[in-house]
Symmetry: C2
Subunit: 341 residues, 2 copies
């Protein structure tokens, strides 16, 4: 197989929602047909800020894997693995941490932005500050050539490439590959309140596993145009969440375009467009929900185990090259890795 390797992943801190679906999951269902796709359940990374609530991270692993399979990610085509079960990633992180300064990590715009969102104050956990190094380990371990990211993640890729270049120069090797970021085409999905992106923590997202009743409730609670009081009034499409969701999910763009004109002119009520969006989302989510309901938890761990074995093998290979480059491959040729527990 000469397929390029793609790496994606999610922090298991909650079930996945429509924002993940349009922003990433749909893309991955396509990628797995053309790429050797690795999908990482980033539990170690999640623990850098959820270490006080590790149970939440643990519980959500199976939820996230369920969401993957439900949307059509096929474990025969994609390698789903659990980050914490690939020790080579920790080892790579340790060696890369020597090649990046504390000041540089503190300047990382993505980290900076996240720090202001969290309430760490002056008490920034060392693990959190260093998570970009850990991400560099993830990406380089699998020699991923395709790493789909949002625009806000570009500084992470730049950080990773700095480490890659420094490592290769310092140890006179080419064993690490620079990463080309693939910007996701689809923009972020707005929350149902219209105020921010859809997210679990803001409680403004429609989850892939929501019941039909909850979906309907959330659609009918969507922010539209507060000036659009009577059906006959002209309505605003910009900032109208229902239309943004129709843009993202309605299969027929022309139809959505016609509805927008009608809404702008007046004579099209919110209830009508919400009812239409509800139909569209119910149709999209019903098969996903049904597939999700049929999944067996044991099987999910089986497939994570299989995937993790494959991921380990690839990551160990890179680690071995890295150790050889540094010169610390003392026992490489020995049958060292027979553990006895």
């Amino acid at each position: 197989m000469d397929r390029k390797i793609a790496l994606t992943g999610d922090r298991p801190t909650g079930k996945l929602h429509l924002g993940h679906f349009v922003g990433s999951l749909k893309n991955r269902v396509g990628l797995q047909q053309t790429h050797d796709q690795y999908i990482m359940i980033a539990d170690t990374q999640a623990l850098t800020d959820y270490f006080e609530n590790s149970q939440l991270v643990v519980d959500n692993i199976v939820e996230v894997v369920s969401d993957y399979l439900a949307v059509g990610i096929d474990p025969e085509l994609s390698t789903i693995f659990i980050q914490s079960q690939v020790p080579a990633l920790c080892e790579l992180t340790m060696y890369y941490m020597n090649l990046v300064t504390v000041a540089r990590l503190e300047r990382n715009p993505t980290v900076k932005a996240e720090l202001t969102q969290k309430d760490f104050g002056k008490s920034i956990p060392a693990g959190f500050l260093c998570y970009p190094v850990s991400q560099t380990a993830d990406i380089t371990a699998f020699k991923a050539e395709v790493v789909p990211v949002g625009e806000d993640q570009l500084p992470m890729i730049e950080q990773a490439n700095e480490i890659v270049r420094r490592f290769n120069r310092l140890y006179n090797t080419q064993c690490l590959k620079e990463i080309t970021a693939h910007l996701s085409e689809t923009k972020r999905l707005v929350g149902i309140d219209g105020k921010a992106k859809a997210s679990k923590s803001l409680n403004n997202a429609i989850f892939l596993s929501d019941t039909p009743e909850i979906i309907k409730e959330k659609v009918y609670a969507m922010f539209t145009d507060p000036g659009h009081l009577k059906v006959s009034d002209p309505g605003k499409v910009e900032g109208n969440v229902v239309f943004q969701y129709l843009d993202a999910f309605h299969p027929n763009a022309d139809e959505v375009s016609a509805l927008k004109s009608h809404y702008r002119k007046g004579g099209l009520g919110d209830t009508v467009i919400k009812s239409l969006l509800n139909d569209v989302l119910q149709q999209l989510l019903q098969p996903i929900r049904e597939k999700r309901a049929q999944l067996k938890k044991e099987n999910l761990f089986d497939l994570c185990f299989e995937g993790t074995q494959k991921a380990r093998s690839l990551a160990e290979k890179t680690l071995s090259e890295v150790k050889t480059a540094i010169g610390i491959d003392f026992f490489e040729k020995r049958n060292f890795y027979q553990r006895n527990h």
Copy 2:
């Protein structure tokens, strides 16, 4: 065996010298009779500030192991292992890094003192700042109850115990043990120039592997009492390097005491005491040097391999308990660790 576990180690950044001998090696030769002693070649830690000169670290591993065996550390009694070949230590470090803040690491007095010695300036490598976390991983991994340290290392032990307490409280476990520091009895050995402690970087140490000629040269170059011009002059014993070395190495304390009185009164020349010290050191170092010369490099790696396997097994056990406490022991019961390279 109900022996307590002792953990010691050295950064392989140079051959070992008399300072190591009185400060630590002699003690270890005794400890191995009463304790289950693990001796770590701390190459990963050495790389946190020698990452630009990894070959030096690599080359010195075999030198340090040679010094161990030459002074009487017995691989049948002590487990000598190489830090970089125990991946569990990296994994533990990652999880502990979430439990310590960047500010706390920056306040660590040992790190602070070392930072002023090094020329990092504002460019402190993240790996260097975090090395106390890595040390915590080392100590806890082996559940060492005896960790001989110098006074300057006490803040490291305090740091480690903070992490241990936080981990146990947070994850409701007792799997990590608090560490009791064992202050080394012997003080630091002064350098032959009398100005600082004996160290390779200051080029003022007598190495265990020095030739008889070099030893003699260094003894005769020792700082004594610059006011002691004529043999008949009274001489100062305080700050006189020769007497400090006689205190440390002469087998008969009474004899040294008598020499000191004589020197203070006047009538005892520097050449006489230097000649005596030279005899004492030649007698001490000859068998060490001869034993060292007989060692075969391949055998040294063999014994490091054996020791590292034992160390891995113990560290993996602790890691497994740590992962269980956090809740991320997903595949523990599976035969996961069959690597295929």
